[in-house]
Amino acid sequence: MRSIRIVLLALAALVTAPAAPSSLAAQEPSVAPAEAAAPSSAAPAADAGASTLPRYTPPRTLRAYTHVFAAFAVAWVLLFGYVVFLARRFRRVEEQVDALARS
């Protein structure tokens, strides 16, 4: 039941998260669209008239570096944590197998 409570709390936190302001797309002047990259930051780029709208340009601040660091750190901490969890679980099961084999 504890896990269900955690899931419900996570859902509640997400529901209260702010939605993207639709005016973001018109906040900053246009820059040349980068063909090279995957993520187009122009939100409504799928629309027919999107090319006439000015694009939202992400701010070039130190905060972007923090986000990159956080993303990589979270990914690797999660994966490393999972590997440690798996190794401990494996050792525990092996101990159980040994104990059963002895008995």
Binding site: P18, A37, A38, P39, P58, R60, V68, F72, V97
Partner: protein, 252 residues
């Protein structure tokens, strides 16, 4: 104790362990290369700047999560048909890894989105369906443990594993079918990839590294699951043996 020491099973378990360790080393080597490519080889994207590099962990995680849930669906279908416990063990292992990698996707996405879109989260189709996928497979584990009979729990979870996979093509196609804020694919396009070659090469190496890591962890988790099932089976048999004391073969 015969089931614990069955030579054929023990041999195959050793093989699985060897493959898991081998793939783990290969994954580690490929990850080192991919790290070098992400930070020293791939160019900084003109429009987004440095934050675009989250792409190299976000996209491979999403790919691996889809692969994991695809394996869950196939093995669950096989389990419902053949009732082979090995298929159930693979499903459990893949579902657990799928949840881990989807969690990475759901954390790295908002970190990227906050800079790119100005918002941590947007209730648009792809993001919402990905969150739904995460809930489905968290539900998979809750369902397994929620029934009185373990066999019934496995069967219900297998059905959810098959039904839940319907969400995968929906997530993939959502950017084409619906008005979506999420960017469209840049690699898997009919007219070919539109990104710079260095970006594509770095992405492919990251995809390879994450895929190798996934299979290494999948085999390790499968091994743990099979060993645990055997321990549980032996303990259960010990409790049924006439004259066996309650603690015999149970206290570890």
């Amino acid at each position: 104790m015969s089931s614990l020491n069955a030579p054929v099973e023990a041999g195959s378990m050793k093989g699985v362990r060897r493959w898991s360790v081998g793939l783990g080393f290969l994954a580690a080597a490929t990850l080192v290369v991919s790290f070098w490519m992400i930070f020293f080889y791939a160019p900084t994207e003109r429009e987004m700047g440095i934050v675009q590099r989250i792409f190299y962990v976000h996209v491979p995680s999403a790919w691996v999560a889809f692969l994991a849930f695809g394996i869950v669906a196939l093995c669950s279908l096989g389990y419902l048909w053949l009732k082979d416990p090995r298929l159930d063990a693979i499903s459990v292992a893949a579902a657990e890894l799928g949840v881990v990698f989807t969690t990475i996707v759901l954390i790295t996405g908002p970190l990227w989105g906050k800079i790119a879109w100005g918002a941590w989260w947007v209730w648009e189709p792809r993001l919402t369906l990905t969150l739904l996928l995460w809930f489905i497979y968290v539900g998979y584990f809750i369902l397994r443990g929620a029934t009185d009979s373990p066999e019934r729990g496995k069967r219900f979870a297998a059905i959810l594993g098959v039904v839940g996979a319907v969400d995968i093509p929906l997530i993939h196609m959502s950017v084409q079918w619906f008005r979506s804020q999420h960017p469209k694919p840049v690699v898997m396009k009919p007219e070919g990839p539109t990104a710079a070659p260095e970006i594509i090469q770095t992405l492919l190496v990251s995809l390879l590294a994450f895929t190798l890591l996934f299979f290494s962890l999948l085999l390790a988790r499968y091994l743990v699951q099979r060993l645990q099932e055997r321990v549980d089976a032996v303990r259960f048999a010990a409790t049924l043996r006439p004259g066996a004391s309650a603690s015999q073969g149970v206290t570890v």
